[in-house]
Structures are given as C-alpha cells and as structure tokens.
C-alpha cells in the first residue's frame, strides 16, 4: 500500500510539472527582456522583472484592435448561441414533434465535419451574402459551429425539470412563451451560463474561421492576428510573443477561476449521461 501511494504521488508530481510549468514559464518569460531570455542556464525566476514588453505591445495599436475584435466576436457568438440554443433545446426536450430526435441527431453529427471542408464553401456563401470580412459574419459562423452541442447540452437541463411546473403555469393562464421565459428559464440559469461560457471559450480560441473569412487586418481576431503579424519567417521576438500569450490567455484564466463550477458541471453532466 505504501509503495503504491509513493508511486501515485510521484506520477502526480510529474504530470503537474508537465501541465503547469509551461504556463508558469510563459508568465516568467513575458517579464524578461530578450537579452535575459538568451542566457544559459536560464533563470527560473524573473530576477529583474520588466514591463517593457507589455508597454511595447500596447503601444503598437494593432494588438488592441485584434484583442477587442476577439471580444466582440466571442461575446456576440456566445449571446447568439445561448438564445438560440435555449429555444431549440426547450423545443427538443418538451414537444416530441415527429422526427425531432432525428433532427437532433442530424445536428449533432455536424460536429464531426472537418472545419476546413466547410470554410472553403463558406467563403463562397459568405461572398454572396456580403458577410465576407465582417465581424458579425464570423460570429454567425462560430455560432453555427457550437450550436448543435450547446442545444444538446441545454436539452439535458430541461429534461431534469418536471413537467408539472408547466402544467401549473398553464392552469394559471400563463401562455407558452411566458411559461418558458418567466418560469422555466430561471431554473436553467446554470445550464445557460455553461453553454454561454463554452461558446465564449471556443470562439476565443478560433483560428481557422477568422483566417479564411476575414481578410482585412483591422477586423482580425487574436489568434489569426498573432500568427499573421508576429510570427516571422526566421526569427521570433520571444519576449514579445510570450507577452502576447499572457494577455491572450488572461481573460480565459479569469473566466475559469470565477465560473469553473458552471463550465465543469455542464460539460461533465453531458458526458456522464450519454
């Protein structure tokens, strides 16, 4: 027994090092100058921390443009997804219209399709709809990408609410839409938060949609902007790149710290049920 617990602590230590060191190293590197970076052996602590990289990054206004675009797109996508998935998920959960299970399965199977195959044609569809090179178009494409999964997830939350609540509301003369908005929706707050956060996370992470559907630099989001502007062919400014990484990561870290209960609950509920 003793031997296995030593072994498990050793394994835990190794894997924690593997998972956490890169994040620590990103923070440390961002506070060093390039001169300090190119020292062997590397200094494991930021001995003379500098904010120079951060100041340089913020001075170059283009970064702030990418950053705010990322917020706009991710926020719009997550609001749209939450509203649309709420309506559809409720419908799938409560009204067993003929073929609704088949529709839900069809929606979910789209999650499998390779994104690249889709964006090739999406490019032409966007062109004819005049959505190419617009942030709202990008937000729609990302909404469509997460909608099936989110609808399925929120349906699970509705399934857990007893039908008698609606029946009671109905007797009290509450219409269908009012019942949904006033009575049922407040009961699924945590589910709605979960899908909103999940969409935000995925939209923030997006690279491929932005690279293909946005061509003008001042509309680009973070991931695409970074890879187009800051990654040189030959040499990399590693101090600056790590600084970009920190700033690009911090909103996600904050979301996770404050809302991890909802993010975790929503995702695991789905996996354990299915």
């Amino acid at each position: 027994m003793k031997k296995t617990s030593i072994l498990s602590y050793f394994f835990l230590g190794m894997i924690l090092l593997f998972l956490l060191f890169p994040i620590y190293w990103m923070f440390v590197t961002s506070f060093k100058t390039n001169m300090q970076l190119y020292k062997i052996p590397p200094s494991w602590l930021p001995l003379s921390p500098t904010l120079g990289n951060y100041i340089e990054l913020i001075k170059g206004k283009v970064f702030l443009t990418y950053y705010s675009n990322n917020f706009i797109v991710a926020f719009s996508a997550s609001v749209m997804t939450t509203v649309v998935a709420l309506l559809a998920g409720y419908s799938f959960s409560r009204f067993k219209v003929k073929g609704s299970n088949l529709i839900l399965f069809g929606l979910l199977s789209t999650q499998m399709f390779p994104v690249i195959g889709r964006v090739i044609a999406l490019y032409t569809v966007f062109k004819s709809m005049r959505l190419l090179n617009t942030r709202i178009g990008l937000a729609f494409a990302l909404t469509a990408a997460t909608l099936p999964f989110c609808t399925w997830l929120i349906k699970g939350f509705f399934d857990d609410i007893p039908k008698s609540i609606e029946e009671a509301a109905n007797i009290d003369g509450c219409g269908r839409l009012m019942t949904l908005l006033r009575i049922i929706m407040p009961l699924t707050k945590s589910g709605l938060l979960a899908i909103g956060l999940y969409t935000f996370l995925l939209a923030w992470d997006d690279f491929l949609h932005c690279v293909t559907l946005i061509t003008s630099d001042n509309l680009r989001t973070l991931s695409a902007g970074i890879s187009m502007r800051y990654l040189g062919e030959l040499s990399y400014d590693w101090a600056l790149i790590n600084t970009i990484s920190v700033i690009g990561t911090v909103p996600m870290l904050l979301l996770f710290v404050f809302f991890q209960k909802y993010m975790v609950q929503g995702l695991t509920a789905g996996a354990v049920k299915a």
Binding site: L87, F113, A144, N242, L253, L267
Partner: protein
Amino acid sequence: MDFKTVLKNKKNGDRIFAILLMLPALTIITIFIFIPIAKSVFLSFTDYKLANIASGVGHLWNNFSNYKAIFTEGDLWPAIRVTFTFMSMVVMLQLFLGLILSVVLNGSIKGKRFLRSIIMLPWVIPTVITALLWMWLFQPQYGVVNYLLLEANIISQPIAMLARPALALPSVAIAALWKQIPLMTLMLLAGLQTIPSEMYEAATIDGCNGIQLFFHITIPFLRNVIRTTVLMSIIENFKQFPLFWTMTGGGPMNSTTTLAILSYRNAFVNMNFGKGAAVATVWLCLLLVVAFVYNKVFTVNEME
C-alpha cells in the same frame, strides 16, 4: 364538441410553438453548416480556382480531375498516414495518462479539490497560444527542453525538434496532449464519482488487489464515459489544424502534413478551392468510416 376543438387547438398550438422555437437554430445551421458542406462536396467535382472567381466564370465540371490529381500526386497517402498516426498516438496516450491521473485524484490525496481545478488550466489556453508556448519550450538554442536534455546528458548537442522529420510529429503530439489531458481527466473523474464506494469495499473484502479492482470495477463502470470521451478525442485530433499550422506548417519535408494541412494548402495557399474541397471530402468520408467502425466495435463488445 367545444372541449374537443380546444384540445385539438392546444395540440396544434404546441406543434407550431415547437417548430417556431427550433426555427432559428435550424436556419443558422442550414445556412452556415449544411449548405457549405453540400457545396464543398459539389465544388470538389469542379474546376474552381481563384482565377475562376476573379473572371466570374464560376465553377465548371471537370470530370473528377481534382480526385485524379490528389490520388496520383502522392501527397494524399502520406497525409492520411500522418493524420492516423497523430490521432492514435494522442488518443491512446491521453486515455492512458488521463485514467491514471483521474484515479489518483479520486483517491485519498491531500488538497485534491485544489489539484482538480488547477490541472484544468491548460484546457483554457487558446490553441494558437499553446502552439507558441511549446515552440518556445522546444526552441533549439534557448528552449528549456533542450537545456534540460543537455544537462541530463541525454543529448550532446541541441536539437531542433520541430525541424527534424522524425521528431516533429511527436513534438506536436506533446503540445496536443498538454492541452487535452485536462478535459479527458475531468470527464473520467466525473465518471469515477458515479461508482458506488460499496463496490470497492465488497471487492476488497473478497480479496481483490488494486489492479483487479481497476480492471473489474473501474473500467466496466467507466465504459460509457470512455466511449464518449474517446470518440470526442478522435474527432478533435482528426481535425487538428492550428497546432500544425503554427508549429510546423506541415514541414519538415511534409512529415507533419495532415489531411487538414493538405486541404488548407490546396485551397487557401494555392487558391485551388476545388482540389482543397476534394481532399476535404476524402477526409470527411474517412472520418465517417472511423466513427462508424468505432461504434460497431463498441456495440459488439457490449453484447458479449
């Protein structure tokens, strides 16, 4: 009579209401997913390059020449091989490490609540940033990985991991594992928590050791969670694009050119949308076959 019409109306009303609620979701998904996918399959049979768009000629049926080209040029088979190698490497290691980590974190370890939440951190790091972090760690002259390997005398000279054909794919796989282990562990942990502890107690009284407990109780109880998470992981890694594009761009010498890279390169670098779509269509078919076989294997096992 009157009562009957009301009842009928209620039912009809429910149906109309249900369809209205679905409508926004169905519209968005039809416009932005179903139509593009159908169109992309259609484009794969046509001659559709940047020149066609510019001159307004549009797409012309080209008698399967996109498919003929991709099957004869010799890029496709290596790309399929690389995609499958990468996918199986990442999925298997991820399941293996995730299982051990989740069992350890489900046991009696100090501070496990805290540990469970900090191991999730890599999951929220954006993929392109994950790629950058690992490029910096793998950097030949000043990267930490090379420094540690040199200090431990495992290597005698710094190596450029991402520039060596044999090492590039495993290096990208490490970055992928780093980002994906947390979610896998989280799902498995959720599954572990549904196992009643009496099961373990009873089996321990019957004289089972730790390894027997693992194979006879833990694994059977987790099978549904494993089935779902592994399928999700297969799909995710089959589709992986940003890590490759940022870390290696498909090189060196095409050793990390997956179907995703090949398709992207044809469509958006060479601006031959038809050919890119043909690669994507082959890829979609492969994915469907894999998912189908995977589900078959699992159902057959269930019957035994």
